[in-house]
C-alpha cells in the first residue's frame, strides 16, 4: 500500500545566459532559480496494482520514484509505504522494494554478473534457499543462463537490462519501481521484459510502478495511468476509460471493388484512390457498423479494418490538452 499525500520538492537550478561575460558575472553573483519538481502530489496505490506513470521529460516522474524509494527527501508532504516513511526508515524500507533506473547500472562493471548477484544476496541477507529459487526462476524467465557469467561491461544493453531487472528482484521485493525499464531496448528484448513483468505481477502479486515514454509498455502492462506534468498530477484513471474519453473517432480502412464511395453524414474521407479508402468515423454521430453497412451497400468490400488512434496519439493529445 502506497499512500502519498501533498508531496512537494523544489530544486535550485543555477542559470545563466551563454557567453564569456555572463560566465564571468556568474563567478561573483550566481543566479538561482527554484524549480518545483513536485508540486502537491497525492495518490494511493494498492497492493498488486500495476501503475503507469507518464508525463513529458522533466515532469517529475523520476523525482517521484526517488522520493518513493527513499533517495530524495521531499520538502513537505507525507508518504507512507507499507507503514513506513521511506526517507526516515530508509534501510528497513529499501529491503522491501526493488528499483531499476533504466539509465543507470547497479551491476559491478568489472566482475561477472553472478558476482553482483551474490553480493546483493549478502547485502539483503537473502536466505540461501530463497536466493536459489529466485535466481533459478529469474534465470529461466529472463533467459540469463549464458550471460550471467559475463562481466557486466561486456553485455549488450538488452542483456544488461534483463540482468538489472533480475538484480532488483532477487530479494523478492513487494514493490517494484521501474524507471524507464525499456529505454534503448530492441523489439525482442522489450517483449521479453514486458512479459516478464506481467508474469511477476500475476505470480507474486508484486506492485509495479512504471515510468516510461514507450506507450506500448503502458498499454501492455498497466491498467491505471497517472499523468504528471510540471510537477502536478493531472490525471489519475483507467487506461480504457481514457481511451474511450479521448478517442471519439475510429479509423476505417477499406479495400474494395467498385466505382467509388459516397460518404454518409459522420464519415469523412481521408484518402480514396486505387480501390483503397481510409475514412474517419465520427462516433458521436454514427456507429462503426452503420458506416460499414453503408459502405458495403455501395461497393464490393474485399478487406476492411477498424482501428483507433494509437495510444501515442492519445497521450500526445493529453499533453496538448493539459498544455504540458
Amino acid at each position: 500500500m502506497i499512500q502519498v499525500k501533498h508531496i512537494s520538492k523544489t530544486f535550485q537550478v543555477s542559470r545563466r545566459n551563454a557567453g564569456f561575460s555572463e560566465a564571468f558575472k556568474a563567478l561573483f553573483h550566481k543566479q538561482y532559480e527554484c524549480i518545483k519538481a513536485l508540486d502537491d502530489i497525492s495518490f494511493t496505490i494498492a497492493d498488486g496494482e500495476m501503475v503507469g506513470y507518464i508525463g513529458p521529460n522533466g515532469a517529475g516522474k523520476s523525482s517521484t520514484i526517488k522520493v518513493l524509494s527513499g533517495i530524495l527527501t521531499p520538502d513537505t508532504g507525507s508518504c507512507i509505504i507499507n507503514g513506513r516513511v521511506p526517507w526516515k526508515e530508509r534501510i528497513e524500507h529499501v529491503k522491501e522494494i526493488g528499483v531499476v533506473f533504466g539509465q543507470r547500472s547497479q551491476l559491478w562493471w568489472d566482475v561477472p554478473v553472478i558476482d553482483s548477484f551474490e553480493l546483493l544476496r549478502d547485502i539483503y541477507r537473502i536466505p540461501s534457499v530463497i536466493y536459489r529459487n529466485n535466481l533459478e526462476e529469474l534465470v529461466t524467465l529472463l533467459n540469463l543462463e549464458q550471460i550471467i557469467r559475463t562481466p557486466a561491461r561486456q553485455l549488450s544493453l538488452g542483456q544488461r537490462m534483463r540482468c538489472e531487472i533480475a538484480a532488483s528482484l532477487l530479494h523478492s521485493p513487494k514493490i517494484l519501481f521501474l524507471d524507464e525499464p525499456t529505454i534503448g531496448l530492441d523489439a525482442v528484448s522489450k517483449l521479453a521484459v514486458r512479459d516478464f513483468i506481467l508474469e511477476r505481477n500475476k505470480k507474486h502479486n508484486t506492485t509495479v510502478i512504471l515510468t516510461t515514454h514507450d506507450m506500448q509498455d503502458i498499454e501492455t502492462l498497466t491498467n491505471r495511468i497517472l499523468l504528471i506534468g510540471k510537477g502536478k498530477i493531472l490525471m489519475d484513471g483507467q487506461l480504457d476509460e481514457i481511451k474511450r474519453q479521448h478517442c471519439n473517432s475510429k479509423r476505417l480502412t477499406v479495400e474494395y471493388e467498385g466505382k467509388g464511395i459516397r460518404t454518409m453524414e459522420g464519415l469523412r474521407t481521408i484518402k480514396d484512390e486505387k480501390q483503397q479508402a481510409v475514412f474517419d468515423v465520427d462516433l458521436s454521430r454514427i456507429t462503426v457498423s452503420e458506416a460499414i453497412s453503408d459502405i458495403s451497400e455501395q461497393v464490393e468490400v474485399k478487406d476492411i479494418s477498424v482501428g483507433g488512434p494509437s495510444i501515442d496519439e492519445i497521450v500526445a493529445g493529453l499533453y496538448q490538452e493539459y498544455k504540458i
Binding site: 530544486f11 523520476s62 526517488k66 524509494s69 527513499g70 533517495i71 530524495l72 527527501t73 530508509r90 534501510i91 528497513e92 529499501v94 529491503k95 522494494i97 528499483v99 533506473f101 539509465q103 543507470r104 547500472s105 547497479q106 559491478w108 562493471w109 568489472d110 566482475v111 558476482d115 551474490e118 553480493l119 549478502d122 547485502i123 539483503y124 541477507r125
Partner: protein, 267 residues
C-alpha cells in the same frame, strides 16, 4: 557484518585482476625508490652527521614506503565513487539496506589492500637482497616488528578515513577536482611521503606531527627503522587511534548531512 565482508571480498578479487597495472606499478615504484635512495646518498656523502636518520634506516624507510605505497598514497581515490556522486549513480547505492559510509570505507580498504598485496612482495624481496646500505633490513627487534604491523594497520585506516572526507566533500562541491587537488598536494607533504618528517625543521615538525597526516605512513615506517622507540611508540599509537576515531566520526556526521540534501545529478 557479513555484507561488508563479502563486499570487501568482491572488491578485493576485482582488484587482483589488474595484473598489468600491478606490474607497471612495481617497476615504477622500484625505480622511484632507487632514485630517492641515490639522491639521499649524495646528501649523506656530503655530511652524514647532518641527518636525523642513519642512511641504512633511511633505505629501509624508502623501500617500505614504496612496497606499501598502495596503503598510504593519499592521492589515490576510487574514481567510481566520484562518478557515482557526479552522475547520479549514487541513487542505487542509497536504495540498498546498507550504511553508505561503511560500504565505501570497506570498498576503499579492499581497493588499497588488493593493490598493496599484489605489489609489495616483489619490491620487498628485491630490496632485501640489495647490498648494505642500500637494501632493506629486518626491523631492529621483535617489538619494533610488532608495533610496525599494528601502526601500519592504523595508518592505513587513517588514510582511508581521510579519503572518505574527500569523497563526502564532493557531495557539497559537486565536482571532485578542486578538493582532490588541494587535499593531495598538502597531505603528501604533511604525511612524510615526499620527505620523511624527521628531516623537517624541528619547530615545524612538532606541529606537523600532531596532525592526522603524520599518523599515516610516518609512524609505522619510523618504528620499523628504529627512529621511533620506547614510550614514544605508545604516544604515537594513541595519537593514531585518536585520529582514526575523529576522522570516522566526522565522516559519518558529514555523510548524514550530505545524504539529507543529496541531489541526484543527471536526471
Amino acid at each position: 557484518m557479513k555484507k561488508y565482508i563479502s563486499f570487501f571480498r568482491m572488491r578485493f578479487i576485482a582488484g587482483l585482476q589488474y595484473r598489468a597495472a600491478a606490474l607497471a606499478g612495481i617497476v615504477t615504484q622500484f625505480a622511484w625508490g632507487a632514485m630517492l635512495i641515490l639522491m639521499y646518498q649524495a646528501f649523506y656523502a656530503a655530511d652524514a652527521e647532518a641527518f636525523p636518520m642513519s642512511f641504512q634506516a633511511l633505505s629501509s624507510y624508502m623501500w617500505l614506503q614504496q612496497a606499501f605505497l598502495a596503503l598510504f598514497m593519499t592521492w589515490f581515490f576510487d574514481n567510481d565513487i566520484f562518478r557515482l556522486i557526479m552522475d547520479g549513480g549514487i541513487a542505487y547505492e542509497i536504495c540498498r539496506p546498507i550504511n553508505l559510509y561503511d560500504m565505501w570505507f570497506t570498498r576503499n580498504m579492499a581497493n588499497r589492500l588488493s593493490k598493496a598485496l599484489l605489489r609489495c612482495f616483489p619490491i620487498l624481496i628485491v630490496a632485501a637482497l640489495l647490498p648494505d646500505p642500500y637494501g632493506m633490513r629486518l626491523p631492529v627487534n621483535v617489538g619494533a616488528a610488532f608495533w610496525f604491523l599494528i601502526t601500519m594497520i592504523l595508518g592505513y585506516l587513517v588514510v582511508v578515513a581521510f579519503g572518505m572526507l574527500v569523497y563526502i566533500a564532493t557531495f557539497f562541491t559537486l565536482s571532485p577536482t578542486g578538493v582532490k587537488l588541494a587535499a593531495v598536494s598538502a597531505v603528501e607533504f604533511l604525511s612524510g611521503a615526499v620527505i620523511p618528517l624527521p628531516f623537517l625543521p624541528d619547530n615545524l615538525r612538532r606541529v606537523i606531527e600532531l596532525l592526522p597526516f603524520a599518523s599515516m605512513q610516518n609512524v609505522p615506517l619510523r618504528i620499523y627503522s628504529g627512529d621511533i622507540v620506547g614510550e614514544e611508540i605508545y604516544y604515537r599509537f594513541g595519537l593514531q587511534l585518536f585520529w582514526v576515531v575523529i576522522l570516522i566520526v566526522l565522516g559519518k556526521l558529514l555523510m548524514g548531512k550530505a545524504l539529507k540534501r543529496v541531489v541526484v545529478q543527471g536526471g
